[in-house]
Assembly symmetry: C2
């Protein structure tokens, strides 16, 4: 019962210095007496691997020519521009997803849930491309693929069947999108995606940008269907801006219902969108995950994919500045994300996967505030990034 | 009439590749025939030096022990905690200001306006400390010092006299702070600081966090006094959240009056504070500057002082994503800032100071979105930072 890897002088969550032991890819309590590989963490902070709970791996332009963005600010302009760019730029979902994963691995992102477009123009080609990446990089990353009807499902005939095909082909999660403002028929859209979830025994993740009372109504419909199909713990609502746009009574009632049905919320903490009531949600015990959304794409050119930087964004968006607040946002980007997308064993405890990130910082709050870059990343007991340098070759990358 | 420094293959504002010439610290049109130093910009983008129009050099904890922040979110809690920390941590304004300047020089920040606390506990000691830094670093940076009554002026007897003393000692600008919510007497506060400006012939820069209609009222009082004393082009309002909190008619009327009186606005684009109507302000021709506010201090631990990152924050806060938008925020952090704090000759044109930053990026928009770090910085025709490395020793730093 000896460790394969010993990590000396790490500070889990910024606490006291201790040694960590990993055997057969999982944390174990003791070093044992067999010789093992050792690394010295030199007092760096240890966090579990970062969880990217919401991105679009098939949309990034990393490594491609500069895309001059002339798109207006409306969501629909952006959806149209995005579909046009996909055609014209020839974005290869397999290659681009691998490039983003390679980039974010260096930050310590070890689990990703990615929405991947399904529509009547590209069919399920992007799903198949990202599945290829998932297989090629399975020793580096846990990757969940959401079949995502970006251009609408009811709006474009044949998309429902393509969604079904994507799920049969290996997509892990059923995606949905604004049931009212885009799909124009909230009940039929939600009935359709919950039917897919039921048929395939797969979880649901819905993009819900709908504002205020319209969003609240759609959220109620989601809650009702989660309850009816006993999908507790299987449903995530992404963005959910409406939660930050309601009066206190209605806000609280919705949050309570979401807790009852174990519906998780994903927020990117966008500086230009309504802020979610993170403190209230934490008090009630809502599972909160976070993500980068699309990075360096045709929607906007921002984003590194660094989930520690994302913790900073969440804090700044919510006026959170003290150490306890920043520790909370670091948890959202690690354990919160894991809970949200249904990953078990995501902690630095005995029996959990031997995944961690070592950060040169004096406290978790400092790490969030200043996002130091020369990190060491360990996955299943194997060092995959040493002081910011990715070790070994990156599969599926070019 | 020959150049001292030739910069080959630069792309001013992301345009076509050209050579730039600097003689006697200023841009000149021709190379001449005398031998000159040459550097190759390798197609990097050239921007004028970044302008940090609003920071607090006497408050940063850079290089000091980690400060565990347990402070609540209210502004007054933070002011109290800040004053307590100043006492207990022994923040040395001379040393800390030099440390922040050294850090931000590497980003290409070549002009800074810093508010520096004046109060009845520390007197003008911080002003004198930052003046020492200004003298020691005058070959590296243009530094304007604002005498800033952080803890209130009317509220603490003797502060007005200290402000007067600070201005006589060499502070460049008269600061003010929330005339209603902190000072409890908007007319008397504004009369006092405009009297100081008049007496010393120095410009005014007022922290105005006051919300909504209260802020609008204070802004009207500022506009009236600017007009009465003919201080056009001499007044900046920092933050001015109220501009983002009014109905369209009132918003537009205030903006027009500010343009008439040439009152500039400084916004940091804080993700948790109201967003200013940047597009509307640009249409009307308001001078907009930006700044980092305090970095790594007792208020919050955030901030690098990188004004290119600030351009990104401004864009993100305002939902600006296309290339033209990002170029606009880059201008706010260079020429806008220069205009706002009254610096002449801040461009890459003949006769202007030979100050510039070279950025490895394909477009200005990419530079803003991804904030590349290995920059080359030239001040008055002298290379002070080469590929991210500060050259020479940093005075007054320890």
């Amino acid at each position: 019962m000896s460790a394969d890897l010993i990590i000396r002088n790490a500070r889990p969550f910024g606490g006291a210095v201790q040694d960590l032991f990993i055997r057969d890819g999982r944390f174990t309590a003791i070093a044992g007496d067999r010789p093992a590989d050792e690394i010295d963490a030199s007092g760096h902070i240890a966090l579990p691997g970062f969880v990217e709970a919401h991105t679009h791996l098939d949309k990034t332009l990393i490594g491609m020519d500069w895309f001059e963005n002339r798109v207006g600010p409306a969501r629909n302009d952006r959806i149209l521009a995005d579909r046009k760019a996909k055609r014209e730029l020839g974005i290869d979902a397999r290659r681009q997803s691998a490039r983003q994963i390679a980039q974010t691995l260096a930050f310590g992102v070890l689990s990703i849930r990615s929405h991947v477009d399904v529509d009547t123009e590209i069919g399920i080609a992007n799903i198949l491309g990202v599945i290829e990446t998932r297989e090629a990089m399975r020793d580096l990353i846990d990757l969940q693929i959401v079949a995502f009807p970006q251009s609408g499902m009811l709006q474009r005939e044949g998309t429902f069947e393509l969604m079904d095909e994507a799920l049969r082909a290996g997509a892990d999660v059923v995606g949905g999108i604004d049931p009212a403002s885009i799909e124009r028929d909230p009940v039929r859209h939600l009935d359709a995606i919950f039917a897919l979830a039921d048929r395939h025994g797969k979880p649901v993740d819905i993009h819900l940008h709908e504002p205020g009372d319209l969003g609240a109504f759609c959220l109620e419909l989601i809650i009702e269907r989660t309850r009816a199909l006993s999908l507790q713990g299987q449903v995530m609502v992404s963005h959910a801006y409406c939660l930050g746009m309601l009066d206190a009574t209605r806000q609280q009632a919705l949050i309570k219902s979401m807790v009852d049905e174990e519906i998780a919320v994903m927020t990117v903490g966008s500086p230009s969108a309504p802020a979610l009531p993170l403190r209230l949600m934490r008090e009630h015990g809502v599972t909160v995950a976070s993500g980068s959304d699309g990075i360096q794409g045709t929607w906007d050119p921002f984003g590194s994919g660094d989930m520690l930087e994302r913790a900073k964004y969440l804090a700044q968006r919510n006026g959170m500045a003290n150490d306890a607040d920043l520790e909370e946002t670091a948890r959202i980007c690690t354990s919160g994300g894991a809970r949200g997308i249904g990953l078990a064993g995501h902690a630095l405890d005995e029996g959990c996967f031997g995944d961690l990130v070592l950060l040169p910082a004096r406290s978790v709050a400092e790490a969030v505030a200043l996002t130091p870059q020369n990190r060491t990343v360990i996955r299943r007991g194997r060092v995959v990034v040493a002081s910011g340098e990715v070790l070994g070759s990156m599969p599926a990358h070019e």
